[in-house]
């Protein structure tokens, strides 16, 4: 299958290793990955902050970039960006009175998948240890991000994939379905409330004794990881794609320069 990678702006700029891990996983399964070079951002930050006029060219750019190449499906390692592409793009185009863009956005949205959705529903991966050779001998807990959980109905896809990784120990996170408090510009506009939510999330994560909290959205993980780092916690965050990409021969290095925190007790 020819798969177009939508890296998302935050992964592209801040967490390139997450995108590299995504490529690794897909190539290991024998698929061809392409990177449509016109891509930038899904426009979610603009839309969610109410800047619809500013969002329109961003959305138009995404649609255009993902129309430029021929491919079977597009994938992003982010539930919220995929939710934006699928649900918000058509609504925004309609609101701005651009019916043609709406139809094009719907077509791109229909071909776009979140990583675990693609792996489980399309590529039939149910056992990462066996099918991907994933190996990650650490104690991990998992936070399901809101948009993946509620807008995309990902269910336990990410968690089940994590549990099937060789050598891993997955600890249940108390109150897992509670929002971590990120919410894009919410964390700036209502910083106090956001911090209070983060505090509870961090407490729950630490109560599991895991050295890492995994998830499927780089932005939530940056927020959670940033909070853990500020309190000098031994726990840090890591995207589930990187855990799936980790093998015995090529273990993921979790002490890389862009990680917040010391990288846990490893």
């Amino acid at each position: 299958m020819k798969i177009a990678l939508f890296a998302t702006c935050i992964v592209d700029a801040m967490y390139p290793q997450t995108a590299r891990a995504t490529v690794k996983i897909l190539e290991r399964l024998g698929h061809e990955v392409i990177f449509p070079s016109g891509q930038a951002c899904c426009g979610q930050m603009h839309i969610n902050s109410g800047y619809m006029d500013e969002a329109l060219p961003v959305v138009a750019n995404h649609v255009q970039a993902f129309e430029a190449d021929a491919y079977d499906v597009a994938v992003a390692p982010s539930g919220s960006c995929v939710a934006s592409v699928k649900h918000q793009h058509p609504i925004l185009a309609e609101r701005c009175g651009d019916a043609a863009l709406k139809a094009r956005a719907e077509a791109v949205g229909a071909k776009t998948y979140e990583l675990s959705q693609l792996l489980v529903d399309v590529l039939g991966v149910t056992n990462a240890g066996e099918q991907l050779g994933s190996h990650f001998p650490h104690k991990v807990t998992y936070h399901p991000s809101c948009h993946g959980m509620r807008s995309l109905n990902l269910g336990d896809r990410q968690l089940d994939l994590l549990k099937s990784v060789g050598g891993i120990e997955v600890a249940d996170l108390p109150e897992a379905d509670q929002c971590c408090g990120f919410g894009g510009t919410f964390s700036m506009k209502n910083a106090d409330v956001s911090s209070a939510m983060l505090e509870d999330k961090a407490k729950n994560i630490e109560s599991t004794g895991a050295s890492l909290c995994s998830g499927g959205d780089a932005s939530c993980l940056m927020h959670i990881g940033g909070g853990l780092s500020r309190t000098k916690s031994n726990t840090t965050t890591l995207h589930f794609a990187e855990i799936l990409a980790s093998t015995m021969a090529e273990p993921v290095s979790v002490t890389g320069e862009v990680f917040v925190g010391k990288g846990g007790k490893r």
């Binding site: 890296a7 801040m14 603009h46 902050s49 809101c146 919410f186 506009k189 209502n190 209070a196 500020r230």
Partner: protein, 501 residues
């Protein structure tokens, strides 16, 4: 009859009364977050109701279908509101009821107060009602020398405590029982001075106090949960029985109801009587459901009035993307699951309607331009828990985003100096509207390291981003973006291929 409904007014009239907030949400939230007792009470209470709701909702195999049916009925009501209102008016009037139409809070207050004065009394008993809170009826009546006694236990606690409700269903949710006992001891006439905080004893004290009021009041004021167009029937759903006392004992009954509360026919109650109690209190059924249709000679109130309240509802109805907010049946499920509400409590929302529904309903009713109300649509992380819980499937996150758009557009229209946020969004628009631009910007990533400390973390950001770094670090950016890495990888591939040729 004081007027005839003429269909939708050509210009939407926005609502007033207790819908306007006077402090922006972030400031109010900051203050409320400091109240640790309130936060603990609230966390305990909301989590208990949450668990109960999930349990009883799980018992129904057709819960999703019920939600769909509820949403469909309400959408149908909103699409045919003028015709349904006329049908209701005809049937209500034919049964001896009298209808009054009120455009806004002020008109509604005057109508109710005049009706009470006609009965030559200065005391009324009240059934808990959001509509009368919205218009500030109790305060208005007080100015007119009329005392209104709340008879719902929680509402009574709030009233005696000179406090404001913080939840639409459990107005005293922010108080624990020791606090309740202290309020009773200080404010309730003839209370046993040895009263303890045992819930049973507290309830008995309230009961005795209220019984005296029920038996002496000539006039009762209520709200309504539903109005059935096909028969002109009104319905109140409650759990204590105080409502039924008010609805049956006094001579005069005045109901104040938002015009959106209509249901086409009595069969529709079947769906809503399942959706409402399970969503609100986590009960299979509420203990008391009272239905009344006009006047029955020799039985119950002989003067039956209904004030139909607009107060911004037609304006909300005119908003294509926001109108489903009027489908709300005030069950409070959304606030019980909201992580923001759980931490700030209802007072932070500064309006009669707190929580997720308040964050959309208040600005819809008052217009987004009104004062501080424009800060309400931002009081959410858009986590979507409210949408999941809502029995009539109101897509609250989508309406929040829509209203944020309205707010930004309205400020844009006023041509104010651009805020920091405006400038940031403009800059991001440039970066995000082409792969080339973003690529260029990413070339500067290594510079980000300068802002980071030795531990490769950024600990303080300026301006509007400062809030982020109050409790979080930001990692120093990588030396190379994914885009650059990809280009290099694939360029070298291309070069190798060329060399091999």
């Amino acid at each position: 009859m004081s007027g005839v409904f003429m269909g939708m007014p050509s210009l939407p009239v926005f609502g007033d009364g207790n819908l306007h907030i006077d402090e922006p949400f972030p400031a109010a939230a900051h203050r409320e977050l400091g109240n640790t007792q309130m936060r603990a009470n609230l966390r305990h209470a909301t989590h208990t109701i949450r668990d109960k709701r999930i349990k009883v909702v799980g018992e129904l195999p057709d819960w999703e279908e019920l939600r769909d049916a509820g949403a469909a009925t309400k959408n149908q009501v909103m699409a045919n509101l003028p015709a349904l209102l006329e049908e209701f008016e005809k049937n209500f009037t034919a049964r001896g009821g009298i209808i009054h139409w009120a455009r806004d809070a002020d008109e509604a207050n005057r109508i109710v107060s005049d009706l009470i004065k006609e009965q030559d009394t200065t005391e009324v008993v009240k059934v808990k009602s959001m509509a009368t809170q919205e218009i500030g009826l109790n305060e208005y009546l007080e100015e007119q020398g009329i005392s209104a006694f709340e008879t719902d236990l929680a509402e009574l606690i709030v009233q005696l405590g000179h406090d404001k409700p913080s939840h639409i269903l459990v107005p005293a949710i922010h108080k624990n029982r020791t606090e309740v006992r202290d309020i009773f001891l200080a404010e309730m006439p003839n209370v046993d001075p040895n009263l303890t905080d045992e819930p049973r004893l507290l309830a008995m004290a309230a009961r005795e106090h209220l019984r005296r009021k029920f038996l002496s009041a000539k006039v009762a004021v209520s709200g309504a949960n539903f109005a059935l167009a096909d028969s002109g029937t009104l319905a109140v759903v409650e759990s204590e029985g105080n409502g039924r006392m008010c609805l049956t004992l006094p001579e005069t009954l005045i109901t104040v109801m938002g015009i959106e509360k209509l249901l086409p026919a009595k069969e529709d109650l079947e769906v809503f009587m399942q959706l409402l109690p399970r969503s609100s209190t986590g009960e299979r059924m509420n203990p008391y459901t009272s239905l009344w249709t006009g006047v029955t000679e020799g039985d119950g109130p002989q003067n039956v009035h209904l004030v139909m309240l607009d107060n911004g509802r037609t304006a909300a109805l005119a908003d294509k993307y926001g109108r489903t907010a009027l489908n709300c049946i005030r069950c409070s499920a959304c606030m019980n699951v909201c992580p923001v509400y759980e931490r700030t409590g209802g007072h932070a929302y500064g309006s009669t309607y707190p929580g997720p529904i308040g964050a959309i309903l208040s600005p819809l009713l008052t217009g987004i331009k009104s004062e501080e109300n424009s800060s309400l649509p931002y009081a959410s992380s858009l986590c979507g828990a409210c949408f999941d819980a809502c029995p009539v499937k109101i897509n609250i996150p989508e309406i929040l985003v829509h209203l944020r758009g309205e707010d930004v557009d309205s400020r844009r229209g006023e041509k104010k100096l651009p805020s920091q946020m405006d400038l940031m969004m403009k800059g991001a628009q440039w970066a995000f509207s082409s792969g080339k631009n973003l690529g260029l910007l990413e070339k500067g990533l290594p510079l980000g390291k300068l802002a980071a400390g030795q531990d490769k973390k950024i600990k303080r950001l300026p301006g509007i981003a400062a809030g982020w770094t109050q409790s979080r670090d930001i990692p120093a950016p990588p030396s190379q973006s994914f885009r650059d890495w990809w280009k290099k990888e694939h360029q070298s591939e291309a070069t190798t291929m060329k060399q091999e040729k």
